[in-house]
Symmetry: C2
Subunit: 341 residues, 2 copies
């Protein structure tokens, strides 16, 4: 007991890979605001990405920012040589690019992850950091039951999902052997993503909410009957922080956790937007069916039953209105302003 | 139709990795006896292993034997440059060694497999061989339901199982992309293994049958209540051949198949041995409980419900007596001779 208390009073050092991405930036905003990770003060944070990440505003802890390629063995070794207590491994080639550039996807998402875990291992058994890995529900492929449970097999239908599943396996084996203390959290589709639309096939789930709220038109390429699994960026950051502070014994035997989320149809998303922002805003959604995309989206998971993560205290929003309100609070300063009807 | 007939009349070329192992040798005996693979004549077979494999007796096809390390990129490239129609990828560091030598296990079982698949890919999209990969029920870990179904998650509890699961994922992704036409078959514990006892923790399942039938004493380190999943070497070779000749469309969407087998307890194994060979032979089994081993074995899968493989025509023995009779037929010339009571 005394030992645990002393440990949590020692300021933590943290390494974040992929820190220039949306999730990395939002994680750093949260850490800067909290100043603590769980019950431990944050002493120092190293941020790394393929381009130098920005610095969070108002951090009370030391921050170092670095540009490095994790698929370079020397880079991984250097990053881990300072023995950070917690590593958030968020760096990844996104799904569209992993599909269009096979070699880059495997190089970054598989080899980069393995080099990082091997660099941890090379420090010896007296160094056993918590490694939080941002995995994805893309590890699952059809056919799906109505609700996918925690023991469902991983049959990814994309190279991105394959690469995430491979890294989960490696993280789990290295944890079992005591080289590190890993947890892979399978993130839902993050919605509403701030900023410009990206090229991900899942982008429309965010843009049909974001653009209308920002007074712009949005294109809906999929049918309103499509159902999918969502959590807000704020909830995703909450998952990362909770995963970093969970007791190790809670993870023994299973290092992969499907995160909770909201199962909603596109029609339900739009109805939630109407209740919050009115008909005028919803009219900014233009239907332009895209059969290729509709076929792709039809093969995505619709609903999970993430009992293990819920039992460990992970929490997401409970309906899609809450997800929209998080966007309004975190990105629009709390009101929909000119966009309101 | 005409196209299919013409294709199957062209003699097949075959590459077998791990050809010096027990399964590789038995596969080659079968191919030499049959002279065909499915409906196609066998034209040429290349056998490779880390030590030069033996040549099968009585083969009507050309045989080349090679010693090579698959974890050497040039070796994989050379082996595949002749574009074999079918690749049996059996090469692996076994489970005990993969656990005791982490780097060797990952180098051979993961990197070696990836180099082989990448060598196939490097031949371009006009080359798409059937790749049969010998995976294992070691991809599964506890807790188990009473019967493990085809959609059960892979949570391996050994580095060997992890490495097999990683290769399955890669094989599946490369198949989806059209680089190859892969099928991973998850083999039961092969029993009764011929030859000397090896150091595998599962070795006693074979030795408690084999040694008594050979007139020697055997040690039983686990309780008779332990239940596990078995198939004979002959059935395993049958799985490999069937996997090599399955239509590709049968595999679309799922490239991993848990093989059928016999679920039996150690007590049931011994009862079957008694029915076949009598009390005298069974008395050669000496109980020497080993608690460490008993704990390990208790975490192994007990029974599967391999609907997918059964629907595709894979068949194993249906009870443990048949498994013993296969050993007597294939290894003891059909009678238990001096060992009989």
């Amino acid at each position: 007991m005394i030992h645990a208390a002393v440990t949590s009073d020692v300021p933590k050092t943290i390494l974040v890979t992929g820190a220039a991405g949306m999730l990395g930036r939002k994680l750093l905003e949260r850490l800067a605001r909290d100043g603590v990770l769980g019950t431990a003060q944050i002493g120092h944070v190293t941020l790394v990405d393929i381009v130098e990440p920005g610095r969070p505003a108002g951090a009370s802890f030391g921050v170092e920012t670095l540009a490095a390629d994790l698929a370079d063995p020397a880079a991984a070794r250097d990053l881990v040589s300072t023995r950070p207590d917690v590593i958030f491994h968020l760096a990844a080639v996104v799904s569209g690019e992993a599909e269009s550039d096979l070699e880059k996807g495997y190089r970054v998402n598989v080899d980069g992850s393995r080099l990082l875990l091997d660099a941890v291992r090379a420090n010896g058994l007296d160094y056993r950091p918590r490694v939080v890995f941002s995995s994805s529900i893309a590890v699952f492929g059809p056919p799906f039951p109505d609700a996918i449970d925690d023991d469902h097999s991983t049959t990814p239908q994309t190279s991105y999902g394959t690469q995430k599943a491979i890294t989960e396996l490696l993280l789990s084996d290295y944890s079992r052997r005591g080289f590190l203390d890993g947890v892979a959290i399978r993130l839902p589709t993050i919605c509403v993503r701030p900023g410009k639309a990206n090229l991900a096939a899942s982008g429309f789930f965010s843009s049909i909410i974001r653009e209308p709220l920002n007074g712009e038109d949005a294109v809906l390429p999929a049918p309103e009957t499509v159902r999918h699994w969502f959590a807000s960026p704020r909830a995703a950051v909450g998952f990362l922080v909770h995963a970093a502070t969970l007791g190790s014994s809670a993870l023994d035997g299973c290092r992969y956790l499907t995160m909770p989320g909201v199962s909603e149809t596109v029609g339900g998303q739009i109805a939630a937007l109407r209740r919050i922002a009115g008909d005028e805003v919803v009219r900014r959604i233009r239907r332009e069916p895209d059969e290729t995309l509709a076929r792709m989206v039809a093969s995505w998971p619709r609903r999970f039953d993430p009992q293990r993560a819920l039992a460990l205290g992970f929490r997401a929003e409970t309906d899609f209105e809450q997800i929209i309100r998080v966007y309004i609070e975190d990105e629009l300063g709390g009101s929909i302003g000119a966009a309101g009807s």
